[in-house]
């Protein structure tokens, strides 16, 4: 057989078999992968909206809102906010009160900050018993104009204590929130009008 024909034939066959196998494998695994993602989001919503019995999903302005209810009263709204961190995108699940004025909770969905430094935004093993102290301190703070302080306890409604050695990551979280909460607020309010 002519070499060119053989080359084309062999590559075509290998690629076709590979494609077929992978599409079968994708169908088999994607269900589980999607289910895990959903579950992760569900869990994050529960964490940032304490005191909630059920959530309703609404979409507006590019945001997906998880509206928390208890006894048919709105208890809070959760949504995903993303932005640049030190190395890669930081993805946060943000929980706010129904009028978007206060944080009800915050969790980190994904981040690729420097291990041992920036990763403390999600989990700080050096603070035993309160490993999530950084994101926990957002609960109850006022939205819109967060600032950070270094090497001292935060005081006031919109101050956040930055992580020592990871000011950039700490500031990234604050910047994401300052930027996205107002946009999310106007997107959410446009639904009700």
């Amino acid at each position: 057989m002519n070499t060119s024909v053989k080359m084309i034939l062999v590559l075509t066959i290998i690629s076709t078999l590979s494609g077929g196998l992978l599409s079968y494998w994708d169908a088999y695994t994607s269900e589980k992968i999607d289910a895990y993602r959903q579950q992760e989001i569900q869990q994050a919503v529960k964490e940032v909206l304490p005191d909630t019995d059920e959530e309703k999903v609404l979409e507006a302005g590019g945001f997906t809102f998880y509206v928390g209810y208890k006894d048919s009263d709105i208890t809070g709204v959760a949504f995903v906010a993303e932005g640049g961190g030190f190395q890669d995108i930081i993805s946060l699940m943000v929980g706010v009160t129904p009028d978007f004025s206060e944080f009800t909770g915050l969790t980190v969905l994904s981040q690729k900050e420097t291990p041992g430094l920036g990763t403390k935004i999600a989990y700080d093993p050096s603070r035993e018993g309160s490993e999530t102290w950084f994101i926990d301190q957002f609960q109850g703070k006022k939205t819109g104009n967060l600032t950070y302080v270094k090497n001292q306890k935060a005081s006031g409604d919109s101050e956040i204590e930055a992580i020592t050695g990871a000011t950039i990551s700490s500031n990234a979280v604050i910047t994401i929130l300052n930027k996205h909460v107002p946009t999310a607020k106007s997107a959410f309010e446009s639904i009700n009008q």
Partner: protein, 202 residues
């Protein structure tokens, strides 16, 4: 008898004499990047070994059918197929590990160790020997990752597989879980293996 010795040699050379990391210095990118914890190191070692063994088997079987001119392209397609299978498997069944390893599982596709074994061994030898070769190389790769990640996790976090090993007042060496720690540890390991080889040769 002579054949038996060479079969054993096919398997064992990957563990020490031609170790992909310590001697051939191949596949260093994942080696340095993911070994911050034993769990990560083990997962990376097993994933790469799986890809290596499957690819070597298949490529050795197809070695007479693939024209020389398109062999690299064929190898890459075959390797990429197995890498994608491993990547999706981890994402579906071990999502936490998959999250930790991030892009380094897909990057096994361009791991020189795997392509190197196809080019140097599987495309020239029979299936049996190719599988032995892949098993040995995979084991050698995994062992080095395990040792490297154990040293880094122990000194950098004070734990092994998440269990506290070091005493309470031990303060973790931050540098060990940062990239410089990977270079330092790997450098010392390569130095040690050269030293041992040198001593033996004398």
């Amino acid at each position: 008898m002579a054949k038996k010795v060479s079969l054993l040699e096919d398997f064992t050379k990957g563990i020490w004499k031609e170790n992909p990391i310590l001697i051939a210095l191949l596949g260093l990118c994942p080696t340095l990047a993911v070994t911050i914890s034993v769990e990560n190191g083990l997962a990376m070692g097993l994933a790469a070994s799986f890809v290596l063994i499957c690819s070597s088997t298949l490529i050795s079987l197809l070695r007479n059918l693939i024209p020389k001119q398109v062999r690299i392209a064929s190898f890459i397609v075959i390797i990429a197929t197995f890498v994608t299978i491993a990547d999706r498997y981890l994402a579906a069944f071990y999502p936490e590990i998959s999250k930790n390893l991030g892009p380094f599982i897909p990057l096994i596709i361009v791991n020189c160790m795997i392509l190197g074994r196809q080019e140097a061994f599987a495309s020239k030898n029979g299936v049996g020997r190719s599988i032995l070769d892949a098993l040995g190389m995979g084991l050698g790769f995994t062992l080095v990752l395990l040792i490297l990640s154990a040293i880094r996790e122990l000194l950098g976090s004070g734990t092994i597989l998440g269990y506290q090993i070091m005493w309470d007042s031990f303060s973790p060496w931050m540098v060990m879980i940062l990239p410089p720690g990977a270079f330092l540890t790997l450098g010392l390991m390569i130095g040690a293996s050269n030293w041992i080889n040198d001593r033996r040769a004398r």
